[in-house]
Amino acid sequence: MIQIQGVHKSFGDLEVLKGVDLEVDKGEVVSIIGGSGSGKSTLLYCINGIENIQKGKIVVDGVDVHDKATDLNKLRQKIGMVFQQWNSFPHLTVLENVALAPRVVLGKGKKEANELAKHHLRHVGLDDKFDVYPTQMSGGQQQRLAIARTMAMNPTYMLLDEITSALDPELVGEVLDTLRLLRDEGMSMICVTHEMAFAKEVSDKVAFVEEGIIEEIGEAVQVIENPVNEKTKRFLSKVL
């Protein structure tokens, strides 16, 4: 379980998170929606300790993320992350992109890591791309590669940071299909997203964030179709 309690986060004088509380159970899918600059993505980066926090606490399966004694590398092995700009490693082949972390982080043998990588690449439909370099692929394919790369670490949770917003519209579908697949397999996910329809379809819960505060959280269908909060209503009327 991920427990976020009263988290405050500032960049210099700019406070981007002003007391966020959120709980995500195992197997649960939570979508975070909100305007740009509302602090959604920053929250994700705090969960795996890429960013530090000023106040509050984030606990993942009983481990305090921002405790100095916490082994962040160990913790990050069970929190996968996929990025807006997919961030594939351009100097490695598709297969190497996926096999690298299992090899150097989990200490698997080269053969085992490659088999594992192939398995996950097939899973996201990149069977024929093993020896290609990422830059030779489309954005959608690179994003699926990024998902496979994360899955190969067998994470308990996935953090998805606007993973479709940098894609051409016609490529969004293939990536969302991959996410549906993960959801059906029971993966716990926190998705920062602009795809309202998708959020409604796959999420158990939807949280609306504005100016560093969760204004409304609830059942996905309820929040998106019948929001209670005035700010949520205003935001949804603009994007839907």
Partner: protein, 222 residues
């Protein structure tokens, strides 16, 4: 040409010794380059660090190396260090001087290479659970070296050419060896023409193999 007569036979007979000199030239160039790369990476990291001390050391090193002649560095290593009781052989003096200059120039090259790598590459590797060292080893350094491959090749060529200053401290690399050989026969012109050709061939060969190597090493574009 006046009444000058070329005598090539004597150069031909001394060819093995000259080739040996050429080998020493490559030797000192390769080692000064390898050491220069190692120091250069460390200094570049020092220059980018938020701590004061590594920053000051790196900046001083870089500026002194870039703003004084290589000949001065070699004299410092050969004559100057004597004041501290350190007496280096000609080979060691040239090696130290070239390493010093190479690391100075490479530091700036590497810093540019590091800065060209988006921060998201670090973040992506950390989020997979890689330690800082692993992230540098597998993700950052390979990309950095690829970006600076051509400036690095140029630096290597510079090392080959500048090792010719070994002639001034009696080192047995190509120029020094040529100097010694010609002093036995006074066929200065012949000997140095052959030396010049050797430098030309070595440099072209290095450029050629660097090109071949880059095609084998770097397949994906970044």
């Amino acid at each position: 040409m006046g009444d000058y007569e070329f005598h090539w036979l004597i150069v031909y007979q001394a060819l093995p010794q000259m080739l040996n000199g050429a080998f020493v030239t490559l030797h000192v160039a390769v080692f000064s380059m390898l050491l220069g790369i190692a120091f250069g990476v460390l200094l570049a990291l020092g220059k980018m660090s938020k701590y004061r001390m590594p920053n000051i050391i790196a900046t001083a090193w870089v500026e002194i190396a870039r703003n004084t002649p290589a000949l001065f560095q070699i004299y410092m290593a050969y004559f100057g260090l004597g004041a501290f009781g350190i007496h280096l052989s000609p080979y060691m003096a040239v090696l130290c001087a070239l390493t010093f200059v190479n690391s100075g120039y490479l530091t700036e090259t590497f810093r540019g290479g590091f800065q060209a790598i988006p921060r998201t590459q670090y973040v992506a590797s950390w989020s997979l659970g890689m330690k800082k060292v692993q992230s540098y080893r597998y993700i950052i350094l390979p990309q950095m070296f690829r970006r600076v491959y051509y400036p690095m090749t140029n630096q290597f060529i510079w090392s080959i050419l500048m090792s010719s200053l070994g002639i001034l401290v009696g080192m047995g690399e190509l120029s020094g060896e040529t100097q010694r050989l010609q002093s036995l026969s006074f066929r200065t012109l012949e000997f140095f023409i052959v030396a010049a050709i050797m430098y030309y061939v070595i440099t072209k060969l290095v450029l050629f193999s660097a090109d071949i190597m880059s095609r084998r090493l770097f397949k994906g574009e970044i």
